[in-house]
C-alpha cells in the first residue's frame, strides 16, 4: 500500500501508477455529478459547458446555499456509485475523466474503460460528509443550475481524502476481490453456524 498526493487535473501517468489498495489525497478541481447530471448528459444529449478532461468526478448531491452570485457549501457527502455505472464508460471514453470518486464501486464495463483509457475508481469513506465538506475550499461554479441538487458542480479542494484506490487501470477490483474472498470463506462459516 503506497500513499500518493496528486494535483488535479490528473495525467494518464498519474493514474496508471496507482494500484488497488493505494491511498490517494489531492488538491485542485473536483467535479460533482449524480444520476440526473448524467441522464441529462447521456440520455438527453447535453454537452457539458466545461471540459472534464483529466479531472476527477465525485458522486454527490450537495447541500449548497446561494449568496448573491456565489454558492456556499452547507454539507457535501458521497452517494452510492453502483446506480451510475451505466454512464461511467462513456464519461471516461468521451470526456476523459481520470477518476470517479464514490462509495461501493462500479462494475466490469467501467473497469474495462478504466483499463483502456487510464482512469481509476477512488473509494471515499461513506458517511464522512463533515470531513469532505471541510476539505472543499470553494464552490467555484454550478453548471446546469436547474438540475440542482443534481447539477454539475465545480469544487476546489485541498488535501481531499483519504481515498482508497478500489478499481485500478490494471484490472484489479478491490470490492470484487473482497466479495470473492467472502464467498470462499462462507461454506466454512455456514458449517460453524450449523446452517
Amino acid at each position: 500500500m503506497a500513499e500518493f498526493h496528486l494535483q488535479s487535473p490528473f495525467s494518464e501517468e498519474d493514474v496508471r501508477q496507482l494500484h488497488a489498495g493505494d491511498i490517494v489525497r489531492f488538491d485542485g478541481v473536483l467535479f460533482g455529478i449524480r444520476d440526473l447530471t448524467q441522464i441529462y448528459m447521456f440520455d438527453q444529449n447535453h454537452e457539458p459547458p466545461v471540459s472534464l478532461a483529466g479531472y476527477p468526478c465525485i458522486h454527490t448531491a450537495p447541500s449548497l446555499r446561494r449568496n448573491g452570485d456565489k454558492w456556499e457549501k452547507i454539507c457535501v457527502g458521497t452517494t452510492t456509485s453502483t446506480r451510475m455505472d451505466r454512464f461511467t464508460p462513456e464519461l471516461i471514453a468521451r470526456y476523459g475523466v481520470r477518476a470517479i470518486i464514490g462509495k461501493a464501486g462500479l462494475y466490469q464495463k467501467s473497469l474495462d474503460a478504466m483499463q483502456q483509457y487510464g482512469a481509476v475508481y477512488l473509494a471515499i469513506v461513506g458517511g464522512s460528509a463533515a470531513l469532505e465538506t471541510l476539505q472543499i475550499e470553494e464552490v467555484e461554479a454550478v453548471y446546469w443550475e436547474h438540475l440542482h441538487p443534481e447539477a454539475l458542480y465545480q469544487f476546489r479542494v485541498r488535501n481531499f481524502g483519504p481515498l482508497t484506490v478500489a478499481m485500478d487501470c490494471h484490472g484489479r477490483h478491490l470490492y470484487d476481490e473482497v466479495r470473492e474472498e467472502a464467498a470462499r470463506r462462507l461454506p466454512e462459516i455456514y458449517k460453524k453456524l450449523g446452517v
Binding site: A104, G127, S128, A130, A182, K192
Partner: protein, 292 residues
C-alpha cells in the same frame, strides 16, 4: 388535562433531530474505537482514521456527520403517571421535525413514492415514523433516530416456516450482510427481528438497531446467537466500507416477539457506522434532559 406547554415538545423534537445528526452516541464511538484497535488491514485502518476525523469535525463545528439526513423515526414512551395529551405530542413532534429541517437548515430526504417530489420538510403522510409505548412513570421519553438510506436499502424480511428453525435466521443475517458489501457503510449495527407478524418483525429489527451498541438481549440463549452471528459476520472479511478487513459489524442485536405456531418471521435491518440517535426525557414540570 392540564396546562403543560407543548411547545417544549416541539422544541425538543427539533433539537433531537439536529443533535442526532451532529453528535454520535458514546457507545457507538467506543465501538468504533474498539473496532479500530482490532483491525489489522491498512486500508481499513485508514477508513477508521477518516471516521474519527469526521466525528471530531462534527463535534467541533456542530455540523452534520453525514449528508443523508435519513427518514425521522420517533420511539415515544408516555409515562402514565401524568395526563399527557397524546394528540398534542404527535403534532408537536411533526412540527419540530419540519422546523429542524428548514431552520438548521439541512436537506430533507423525504419524498412522494410515486411523484418523487421532495417537500424539503422531512415530514409528510406516514412521516415521521412513530412507535408508541407506555410506562408507569410520569416522564415523556422520546428517542429519535434519523435512518439513512444506504443502510436501509440493504434490509430484508422473510416469512420462513417453523421447520426452517433458527438456522433460517442465521443464514439470512449472514447473507444479507455479506451481500450488502460496502453499500450500507459498514461496520454498523445489524438489527434482527425474530417472531411476531410480517409487520411486527420488521419493527423489531428497527428497534434492535436503536439499542446502545453491544447491549445484549436479556435472554441468554438469544444473546448467545448475537455473539455467534457477530463472529460469523466478521469472519467474512467484508470489512469497513466493504474494502476488506477484520471488522464488518459493531454488533448484532436481536429483538424477539411471540409468533404464530405456523410462522417463523425474520427481518434484518442494517445500520451504518454513523448509528445516529438522540434522546430527550421531558418532565411534567417542563424540564428536558438530553441524552442518547
Amino acid at each position: 388535562m392540564n396546562d403543560f406547554d407543548y411547545t417544549i415538545v416541539e422544541e425538543a423534537a427539533k433539537q433531537l433531530y439536529i443533535r442526532s445528526l451532529c453528535d454520535l452516541p458514546p457507545d457507538v464511538r467506543d465501538a468504533l474505537k474498539n473496532a479500530y484497535a482490532r483491525e489489522t488491514k491498512p486500508t481499513a485502518r485508514s477508513v477508521y482514521e477518516a471516521i474519527f476525523k469526521t466525528i471530531e469535525i462534527a463535534d467541533r463545528d456542530h455540523t452534520l456527520i453525514c449528508q443523508d439526513t435519513g427518514l425521522p423515526i420517533f420511539k415515544v414512551k408516555i409515562g402514565c403517571g401524568y395526563a399527557w395529551n397524546g394528540y398534542q405530542i404527535k403534532n408537536r413532534l411533526v412540527e419540530g421535525t419540519r422546523r429542524a429541517t428548514q431552520e438548521f437548515p439541512f436537506r430533507g430526504s423525504s419524498t412522494h413514492p410515486l411523484l418523487r417530489v421532495n417537500p424539503q420538510t422531512s415530514v409528510g403522510p406516514g412521516l415521521p415514523v412513530f412507535y408508541w409505548d407506555f410506562s408507569e412513570g410520569e416522564d415523556l421519553d422520546i428517542l429519535m433516530a434519523p435512518k439513512g438510506s444506504g443502510s436501509e436499502n440493504v434490509s430484508k424480511m422473510q416469512m420462513f416456516t417453523p421447520g426452517d428453525g433458527v438456522k433460517a435466521l442465521k443464514k439470512i443475517v449472514l447473507d444479507t450482510v455479506v451481500g450488502g458489501g460496502g453499500n450500507p457503510c459498514p461496520p454498523g449495527i445489524i438489527g434482527v427481528g425474530f417472531g411476531g407478524t410480517a409487520d411486527l418483525v420488521a419493527r423489531l429489527a428497527k428497534d434492535a438497531i436503536l439499542r446502545p451498541v453491544g447491549q445484549r438481549n436479556p435472554d441468554p440463549e438469544i444473546a448467545a446467537i448475537e455473539v455467534e452471528l457477530e463472529d460469523a459476520i466478521n469472519a467474512s472479511g467484508v470489512g469497513a466500507m466493504g474494502l476488506g478487513g477484520d471488522v464488518t459489524t459493531l454488533g448484532v442485536h436481536i429483538e424477539t416477539a411471540y409468533t404464530h405456531i405456523t410462522q417463523n418471521p425474520v427481518a434484518v435491518n442494517t445500520q451504518c457506522w454513523p448509528a445516529r440517535r438522540a434522546r430527550a426525557i421531558i418532565h411534567p414540570g417542563g424540564g428536558v434532559e438530553y441524552g442518547y
